[in-house]
């Protein structure tokens, strides 16, 4: 009798282990895209059209420039660097609904963020922080990832609800716009969103013939410098998981025929131009 009980116990343990393994292996067999859309991000963004999202982005941008008095940097060299990096990445974006607007904010913070509608803001401090154009491209590719996956608008829908966003789009309430802007810069994306944006960035960088490990080198520098997390970029807000993101970037496998093409940009000159 005891033997039967022990045998049954072993059977149960195998059964439970088998069920768990079945689900885990099943998840590993799913493609990253399916896994991300099914499990790691919500479908909130589907509730709002691209046109409405772009309109919302325009309103937040107007608020930024007019009410918040955000000053944009006017520097031809920096503009040309942004153009060079952006055009190389933009060519490789597959079927985008967005007309990207990338601007540089005249502020020494090491920061970059995106608002709905394909608008990306890079702070002057980020240029000073980056060691190469490839690192800047990595940050930009990451932000493009947030845009293409519609993380920004999803986050706003989660925080404010669809009704409020619709009322803003139709009425342009400036008080609420301030709230949206605060939320955009002060709260981080979900870690799953960061992971998804990183994955998108690595694929985009590869297609643009930029080394995907630029993400890892950027994060390593972040870890070395230990910037003040309260004052700096959204990128930093997932700090405890920077190491896993470095690991993911380093383990990203490029195609066999991948050949990186470095930017023809004198980065020292760029840094000097900002002083």
């Amino acid at each position: 009798m005891k033997q039967k009980i022990v045998k049954d116990l072993i059977k149960i343990l195998f059964l439970f282990g088998g069920i768990f393994a079945f689900f885990y292996v099943g998840l590993q067999l799913l493609s990253e895209d399916k896994k991300n859309s099914w499990l790691y991000s919500g479908d909130e963004a589907k509730l709002i059209s691209y046109e409405q999202e772009i309109k919302l982005g325009n309103l937040i941008d107007e608020y930024l420039i007019d009410t918040d008095e955000t000053i944009l940097l006017q520097n031809e060299l920096i503009d040309s660097v942004v153009w060079a990096v952006r055009s190389r990445l933009e060519k490789q974006i597959i079927m985008s609904e967005y007309d990207y607007k990338i601007v540089v904010v005249d502020d020494d913070l090491v920061n970059a963020f995106t608002i709905p509608g394909g608008r990306i803001y890079i702070y002057k401090g980020l240029f000073e922080f980056c060691e190469s154009a490839e690192q800047l491209a990595a940050v930009l590719a990451h932000e493009i990832g947030h845009v293409e996956k519609r993380h920004s608008v999803s986050k706003l829908i989660k925080e404010f609800g669809l009704k409020i966003l619709f009322s803003i789009v139709t009425g342009g309430d400036t008080i609420l716009l301030g709230e949206l802007w605060e939320s955009t810069v002060s709260s981080a994306f979900d870690r799953s969103n960061e992971k998804e944006a990183d994955q998108y960035a690595m694929e985009l960088l590869e297609r643009a013939k930029i080394v995907p490990t630029a993400i890892a080198s950027f994060f390593r520098k972040l870890n070395r410098e230990e910037l003040d997390y309260n004052e700096n970029m959204e990128f930093l807000m997932t700090h405890p998981h920077n190491n896993s993101r470095i690991k993911a970037s380093l383990s990203y496998e490029t195609a066999g025929n991948f050949e990186a093409q470095d930017f023809d940009i004198d980065w020292k000159r760029v840094k000097e131009a900002l002083k």
């Binding site: 039967k4 116990l9 069920i19 689900f23 885990y24 896994k35 499990l39 870690r191 998981h241």
Partner: protein, 173 residues
């Protein structure tokens, strides 16, 4: 030393009350389950209370109460694990959602479904007076209740069968 087992009662030998109480051991869990979703200990407490209230009524009821109680231990533990993990993710923000979490979620849902299905079938069969043995738990409960080593007195069994020593004797033969 070999263990002897008391013969199992056949459906026609069981009273309706016994069958209903045996069925209740499984169905009671469903009532407790709604409360147990956020706090997966209520079902266990309810099962323990039900077990202690009813186990002495008859061996048949004792067996089903014990099988029901034991069989919900794994799912309760699994649900506790999920509660702990979910709190770490969503409340304390200590860990992030990963594939292991989703695999565990699937595992938990399936384990609960299996447990539910078996409990419903066992409840129906218990109502008909038929034994259904769950893997491991069925054998364990049978061994505990129907072995001759079980010294528990049941309300529907006569006690003199157990009393081998005649301590009280008449004053004269």
């Amino acid at each position: 030393m070999s263990i002897t087992y008391i013969p199992l009662p056949q459906p026609e030998e069981l009273t309706s009350r016994e069958k209903e109480d045996a069925m209740g051991a499984y169905l009671m869990m469903f009532a407790a389950f709604a409360v147990s979703i956020p706090l997966p200990i209520v079902n266990l407490i309810a099962a323990i209370i039900y077990f202690y209230i009813n186990r002495k009524k008859s061996r048949y009821i004792h067996f089903h109460c014990l099988q029901s109680l034991l069989s919900q231990l794994p799912t309760t533990l699994i649900n506790w694990g999920m509660l702990y993990w979910a709190l770490q993710i969503f409340l304390f923000d200590n860990v992030e959602i990963n594939d292991y979490f989703y695999a565990y979620l699937g595992f938990m849902i399936l384990a609960n479904l299996i447990y539910f299905t078996f409990s419903i079938v066992a409840a129906i069969r218990a109502r008909k007076g038929v034994f259904m043995y769950f893997i491991f738990f069925g054998s364990f409960a049978y061994n505990r209740v129907y072995s001759s080593k079980n010294t528990l007195f049941y309300d529907n069994e006569e006690r003199h069968e157990k009393t081998t020593q005649q301590l009280n004797k008449p004053p004269f033969e």
